[in-house]
Amino acid sequence: MTTTDSTFRRIVRRETHSPRTVATVIVVAILILALSYAAVEIVLALASQPPLLVTPAEAWAWVIALPTLQPSSAVIAGGVVLALFGVLLMVLALKPGRLPRHEMAWNGRVVVVDNGVIASALAERVSDETGVAREDITVGVGHRTVDVTVTPGPGVPFDSAPVKQLVEEEIRIFELTQPMNTRVHVSRARESDLD
């Protein structure tokens, strides 16, 4: 049974974290294009044909002259953009890239639920119990928190404590493997919105 357990762990891990496929495909495509272009210019230079854009010798001369190129602000900006792209790719490589999904404890099976499904189910439950219209309830589900925002009608008294309890109870029924913090906000429509 341990093989299945480790298989299940692997599935959950892969389903709740991004594979970074899109970024990889874009980077690989750009690299292949750039390398192919360099190869074409080298071959053209070997065959003494006119270059597509620059010959390899001209390109290297440009690299040597880099510190004296004008306008310097444009070159510096180019360098900064290059470095920022580098940082972006490194962040993509190193951040866990958690997807907006939660694992649900379930005996013998792996269950992963999108946060949107959990949020809309919670909102429906709150609406059923409190009588506040469904469209006046917004629920956001994050990795560790549930944010419930209720906008009761003007002048309608509303207590957030029972709602918090209700949401916590519902989440307990869902048996998410990640413990969740619940926050309930009551937002009152401003007078000016009521005209």
């Binding site: 298989t7 599935i11 880099l66 510190p67 070159v75 360098g79 470095a83 920022l84 490194m90």
Partner: protein, 203 residues
């Protein structure tokens, strides 16, 4: 759930990111710091001289220089490696959900195709009003067949109830075929759920 080599993806992104960061930082440094600019010119000129000498020294008469051919070969190798990275993306789908050999089944070798499991489950799930859409696929995870049941319920449906339904159907399928397959259930939200009526239709 596929067999994309994620470590490879991330390693590639990290290496390319690091190279871009170093290049960008170098460009900025040679502009704002004259000492760095001096070194830049010195080293790039030295590299140019070295390159010219190497090209001249390895010139194959009537053809190109060995160094140039080497550079071209390196480019071809790199492109090949990059294409290899692309081929590692995806994969892992399998057609067989369940396979039993003569040893554990009196009927002998029995294979249940994923199309059968998929049809059976989708048929049953399709009868439930709260489930808009479902797919059933099979993947090999560590050489083990794993069935993935992916369902998109209507908005405002309790995921627990949906999973209970699916769990029940999968158990029934296991009874029918006589073997339990590790099953992974995913409950999805998405555009399909957003645009469909959020309440179950009352017939």
């Amino acid at each position: 759930m596929n067999q994309t080599n994620r470590a490879l993806n991330r390693t590639l992104l990290l290496v390319v990111g690091l190279v871009l960061l170093i290049l960008g930082a170098a460009v900025v440094t040679v502009f704002v710091w004259p000492v760095a600019a001096e070194y830049w010119t010195k080293w790039t000129r030295a590299a140019q001289n070295w390159m010219e000498q190497a090209i001249a020294a390895t010139m194959i008469p009537g053809m190109a220089s060995g160094v140039v051919i080497g550079v071209l070969a390196l480019i071809v190798l790199l492109v090949g490696l990059l294409i290899f990275v692309l081929t590692r993306i995806g994969g892992g789908r399998s057609r067989t959900v369940l396979r039993s050999t003569a040893a554990d089944n009196p009927l002998g070798l029995v294979r249940v195709n994923d199309a059968f499991a998929s049809d059976a489950l989708k048929q049953a799930l399709g009868q439930r009003g709260e489930i808009l859409f479902s797919t059933v696929t099979t993947h090999e995870v560590r050489k083990e067949p794993v069935m993935q049941v992916s369902v998109t319920p209507r908005q405002n449906t309790s995921p627990r109830g949906v999973v209970e339904d699916v769990d029940h159907l999968v158990t029934n399928l296991a009874t029918l075929t006589g073997k339990t397959v590790p099953t992974y259930i995913s409950v999805r939200s998405g555009l399909r759920a957003k645009f469909a009526d959020d309440q179950r239709r009352v017939n």
